[in-house]
Symmetry: C2
Subunit: 235 residues, 2 copies
């Protein structure tokens, strides 16, 4: 049975790394003593080692040890044997490139669909959708494909931002960008605000946190959904 | 001799489409009676026809007619015979995909390097750099490559945005994104604020408009350059 947390962000303003999620992570990973961490997205170019140390520190609060996937000679085997998997945020283009390059995309997909509990934040959440086509990141490297895990039958836009009132900037708003996405792609997109996450349990997909989320579907006006809304009919 | 305007944006807040640039465009296209317009980037999903009409209206102010590249049976021939070329803004991933798909990337590159005057705004400016790797756009389609015209020996970041003071949003700032780019790419990046443009005349590359621009180079601190700065040593 799938058991997945798809979080908009790892960190809230004025909060520590993963802090707001820890009570839920304790439950989510309740039978897990060690998590396999995928540091490929390297936020601000941080090394795999430093990123893994940062994550280990956060998870030590709930007595879970962390091992980085880069520490294993055979990353596919590491995925197959993992008790739990966490993919951290950073640059989605880099993350997806590395998942393909190291040949672990299918392995993670299979493990998680078979029940290995998974946590994604930011870029690590983006890849839980059908494609990475609604990332906010810069294309700093060229991945072999935009196709991602598809743990949910729609796309994710993490760090969703409402238009800023009174802004004089002429760049596109997030909503405009997602509408452009729908010119060429038919799957719905969920805009997850910072502090929101999706909890996938088997066939159920529930919005969690205190905020509403914004749903974009092709050819229809966007709308808001409240926390605890069941989203498994969204496709 | 190359003759290129690379503008951060087509439109300033409270201004009309291309309005702030028109006096310069009159000089830039002074021997030109008809411009070939490339509408591939389709901002907000606007059709090629509607986008071309919008551009034609703006250029009618300076007595230049506009023909969209989509109106030609042979787009390569259209490029080769163009008196001037304008690529408008929108989504860079879509624009680059279409340039490759219609086989015109090399034709435009060749024409402009041979002296056909070129104007780019936003996405149409982004592609004047070595790659589209510093676009702000969403990857709504998968282009066959991120490589672009390389009219200048660096990358462009149009609509450059300074970090917003006091922001509580945890998504990456533009500067953080460009620093991530430099983990994997060696060419400098110029952050062009709205209202700025580069004027390329032969081997000269000058910053124009009233604002400074921000230069990012690998392994060095970012710095500002003033209007009229010669940038042809930046590489």
């Amino acid at each position: 049975m799938k058991k997945i947390i798809i979080a908009s962000t790892s960190t809230l303003h004025n909060g520590g790394y993963l802090e707001y999620l820890l009570p839920n992570l304790k439950l989510h990973f309740k039978d897990v003593t060690e998590i396999l961490f995928i540091p490929y997205a390297r936020p601000s170019g941080i090394s795999h080692e430093d990123y893994t140390s940062k994550v280990a520190l956060a998870f030590s609060e709930i007595n879970i040890t962390i091992k980085g996937i880069h520490e294993f000679e055979n990353p596919i085997e590491a995925v197959e044997q993992a008790q739990g998997i966490f993919t951290g945020g950073g640059n989605t283009f880099l993350l997806v490139s590395q998942l393909y390059k190291n040949n672990v995309l299918l392995a993670v997909e299979k493990a998680v669909k078979n029940g290995t509990p998974y946590l994604g934040t930011s870029a690590g959440s983006n890849i839980c959708g059908l494609t990475m086509g609604t990332t906010n990141d810069m294309p700093i490297v060229y991945p072999p494909s935009f196709q991602t895990f598809g743990f949910v039958p729609f796309n994710i836009n993490p760090h969703y931002l409402d238009p800023i009132e009174g802004s004089t900037h002429m760049g596109e708003t997030r909503e405009t960008r997602i509408n452009e996405f729908h010119q060429f792609n038919s799957q719905p997109v969920i805009g997850l605000r910072e502090g929101s996450w999706l909890e996938v349990t088997g066939d159920s997909i529930k919005l969690k946190g205190n905020l509403t989320a914004r749903i974009f579907t092709r050819n229809n006006a966007a709308y808001e959904v409240a926390p605890e809304t069941e989203l498994n009919t969204l496709k």
